[in-house]
């Protein structure tokens, strides 16, 4: 060593350039958004075309569905239906996540327990959704408790798998580092262990929510006398295609927006440190 450099150089260690300017990322975003919008327009045009070829009783035009929806607002059930269904979705979602977290943590952390019982989760995931719903209604009667329990049971198994994966993804090296630096146990739990499992918990919640609202509508259709699912069932029994669509589409749109705007954005923000790895 001829001399000790005062400041280190980095020729040998290539660094990824820091995040590019906001202008660039906007230009990158604009393309996909335009394509996405175009694909929606094409879909709506296709719908319109089909409704003109086929009888309007079978495929009502989009305009017709919107008109019927606006007219149905006067009947007063639309918002209350949505609110009731949303309430059931929230409770069922919370319940399924609690089940998944409790069981997933237990199966993921306690070795012998996991090896012994994780097959039960596989079995639970293999049970057809309809069986949970029918059994819940038979055992508990046609009420909200049964509806929510059935929805939660359908969603819980797949979410449990995500939680187990998350617990298993924990790197013992990071915990060891924290213990060597005498980081208190509470901080290790909250700032070392939890963030490692968070991507998996988030995945569990995102797919869980998407599944929950679809199941809740189905559960309502099977045995409740309120909510979006009930309304679909009612107009189905009247063979009223327009109103079936006018009942289903608004709630679907709301859930789609929540998924695309709120959840995706939150995910991108929370896990920006992971996205960097993809480069």
């Amino acid at each position: 060593m001829s001399e000790i450099s005062a400041k280190p150089e980095f020729e040998q260690e290539a660094a990824t350039p820091k995040a590019e300017g906001a202008g660039d990322s906007w230009r990158q975003m604009a393309g996909p958004i335009a394509l996405r919008a175009l694909s929606v327009v094409i879909l709506l045009l296709l719908w319109e075309a089909v409704s003109r070829v086929v009888s309007a009783d079978i495929v009502p035009s989009l305009w017709r569905v919107v008109t019927v929806f606006v007219a149905s607002l006067d009947d007063g059930y639309v918002w209350s239906d949505m609110a009731i269904t949303a309430g059931r979705v929230v409770v069922a979602f919370a319940l399924s996540m609690s089940i998944a977290l409790t069981i997933g943590m237990a199966l993921g952390t306690v070795g012998w327990f996991g090896r012994m019982f994780d097959f039960w989760v596989t079995i639970a995931a293999a049970v057809p959704s309809i069986l949970y719903i029918v059994v819940a209604y038979l055992w508990m009667g046609l009420n909200d408790v049964a509806a929510i329990a059935a929805s939660a049971l359908v969603v819980a198994p797949s979410a449990t798998f995500n939680v187990i994966q998350g617990v298993k993804a924990i790197d013992p090296g990071l915990s060891e580092m924290a213990r060597a630096f005498r980081v208190p146990n509470r901080a290790i739990l909250l700032r070392v262990l939890l963030p490692q499992t968070l991507p998996y918990l988030f995945a569990a919640a995102r797919t869980g929510l998407a599944l929950t609202w679809k199941i809740v509508i189905f559960v309502e259709l099977m045995g409740r006398s309120s909510g979006v699912g009930y309304r679909i069932q009612y107009f189905y029994s009247l063979f009223n295609m327009e109103r079936v669509l006018a009942s289903a589409l608004p709630f679907m749109l709301v859930m789609l927006l929540i998924e695309l705007v709120v959840i995706r954005r939150l995910e991108v923000f929370l896990f920006r440190w992971r996205r960097e790895e993809a480069r």
Partner: protein
């Protein structure tokens, strides 16, 4: 650099350490009768083949392993909270920036926010990472990640710096650069360093004193005082001669 020390008492002392790992096929003695003093502000390298228990010794010093025979003592005040560890892998929290990773270990020591960010900046600059404070580990090269790891260990004002093969996972050019940096930092502010490696040239190049261990059971077979003056040259004849001596003791 042994002259830099003002305290003549050893910083840490291992006395008759014995460590047995029990496994399904029987028990393995990892360490037997290991007694060694690590001098204050001295750079001590621990060299040996894999399985000689050198990392186990480091784990005992770090307080990560408490199931052992014999005793581990220290003359440093509050040693447990003044251990700076650098591992083979950087072991950074991937969701925190370089600065936040250093700050993480300071925060839990109750250092107030103002002072904390000043310290974080200072130590990242010390390891040559000015301008990279806000990068996530995934945006940094392996060598730079290990620099962050070193900054984190230095930032807690360690009484003892424990380094477990910190450069062995890096490519040779990056490792060489970091060795130079480490010596530069040690010259500027000497720490008590316990450096585990299986690279004999690295040990000869870095350390004031090299402790050589044998495997199964792990025992100390020799000790070499390296009195080549700093700064040293990695390829120099003197370093090569010490490396040769280490190899002879290892009976390779």
């Amino acid at each position: 650099m042994s002259t830099a020390g003002v305290d003549s008492r050893p910083a840490i002392t291992f006395r008759d350490i014995k460590k047995v790992f029990a496994s399904a096929t029987g028990s393995v003695t990892a360490l037997e009768n290991v007694s060694v003093d690590i001098a204050h502000k001295q750079f001590t390298a621990l060299v040996g083949p894999s399985g000689c228990g050198k990392s186990t010794l480091l784990h005992i010093a770090a307080g990560l392993d408490t199931q052992y025979g014999g005793s581990f003592m220290s003359n440093e005040l509050d040693l447990a909270h003044r251990l700076g560890c650098v591992f083979q892998a950087p072991r950074l929290l991937p969701w925190l920036s370089a600065a936040q990773n250093v700050e993480f270990v300071l925060k839990e020591r109750g250092i107030p926010g103002e002072k904390r960010s000043v310290e974080v900046r200072r130590f990242l600059e010390l390891v040559g990472l000015q301008g990279f404070e806000d990068c996530f580990p995934s945006q940094l090269s392996g060598g730079m990640q290990q620099r962050v790891s070193l900054a984190r260990a230095l930032a807690i004002d360690p009484a003892v710096l424990l380094m477990d093969e910190p450069f062995s996972a890096l490519d040779e050019l990056t490792a060489r650069r970091l060795r130079i940096e480490l010596l530069r930092l040690h010259a500027a502010q000497p720490h008590t360093v316990l450096f585990v490696t299986h690279n004999v040239t690295e040990a000869a190049y870095l350390a004031d004193r090299v402790i050589i261990m044998s495997a199964r059971p792990g025992r100390i077979v020799a000790e070499i005082a390296v009195d080549i003056p700093y700064p040293r040259e990695y390829e120099s004849v003197e370093v090569a001669a010490v490396a040769r001596k280490i190899i002879d003791h290892l009976k390779l």
